[in-house]
Symmetry: C2
Subunit: 186 residues, 2 copies
């Protein structure tokens, strides 16, 4: 297995409370980023979903889209700026209780994660599994993929190498705490 | 007037060749970013235009957008990662030969530019004026706005504080040369 310092990862899960366990991960992250923006802590935005426009018309000199389809993002959904550093991440959810299927990550996204690491950006996934939310650092994800032949990441790996996040009703998800750690920003 | 080191800005304009002076600025920048991506120099992407979806239907289990409208970006159009640094910019074009109207920059974009500066990101505009293309650093733009009452930036200011960019048919626009300079990345 891989070696990685994880002294901060020893946490009690009993205090974790995601307010409503069924709360949508994307909504939690959007609320968190809004909090971070309002309090001038970090500038993190969700990229708009790219669309392919098929047909446009004009009404009162305004463009109206009459037909379009949703396209897939070749990068990750969220990016931005924190303490002068470039940050990018994606939110992934799995219903599996035992592992995170790598099919959840598109090949072009995986290529992009490798690029961000190479260019010294901070890149990670936020994974919701078993009702808990973990931050898995990009290099740990890539190490797993490059060293294991499995098509899914066992939950045990996520528990060991990921950082268990906590949710606070007013401040949202505490993911920047671990960005500080993985980015050496403390 | 403002003080700003600009020793690199003394250039001859006679060698500038934008291939086709009528070439669309956005196309030039997109081509440049594709070159930078392919050569693994920088990861800069144009954000998709946000849309407001009004009506969606399903055909063969695929979502089709039946009605939507284009919304305006509250940040700048391009952002990404270069040498570990966060970079964000917008491309602006004016037909005026004497000045760049500040009405080209939405108030929420201006607020965002100030935020990026505060969080130690690199932020700038690429301005096409008089058939030439300049990079105007965010702090220079903000200095102008905070110290002048004018509603447009005189061309003379852009010539003095901006960096005249050159276009190369295969490599695109050389804007990273000045990002190195303004970001202290040399």
């Amino acid at each position: 297995m891989l070696n990685y310092p994880n002294q901060i990862k020893k946490q009690y899960t009993k205090n974790i409370n995601y307010a409503n366990r069924g709360m949508d991960l994307e909504a939690i992250i959007n609320d968190t980023n809004e909090y971070l923006l309002e309090h001038d802590i970090a500038l993190i935005y969700k990229k708009p979903t790219p669309i392919g426009v098929v047909k446009v018309s004009y009404h009162d000199n305004k463009q109206v889209i009459d037909k379009a389809y949703f396209a897939s993002q070749s990068t990750l959904d969220y990016n931005g700026l924190y303490k002068g550093k470039y940050i990018e991440f994606d939110a992934k959810h799995t219903n599996s209780r035992t592992s995170f299927p790598l099919s959840n990550i598109h090949p072009h996204q995986l290529k992009h994660i490798r690029s961000v690491i190479r260019h010294n950006g901070i890149v990670f996934l936020i994974i919701q599994i078993n009702g808990l939310i973990y931050l898995l650092n990009g290099p740990d994800l890539i190490n797993f993929i490059d060293n294991e032949k499995r098509k899914s990441i066992p939950y045990e790996f996520i528990k060991e190498y990921g950082y268990l996040l906590e949710y606070n009703y007013s401040k949202g998800l505490n993911y920047l705490k671990y960005v500080d750690l993985i980015g050496g920003l403390l």
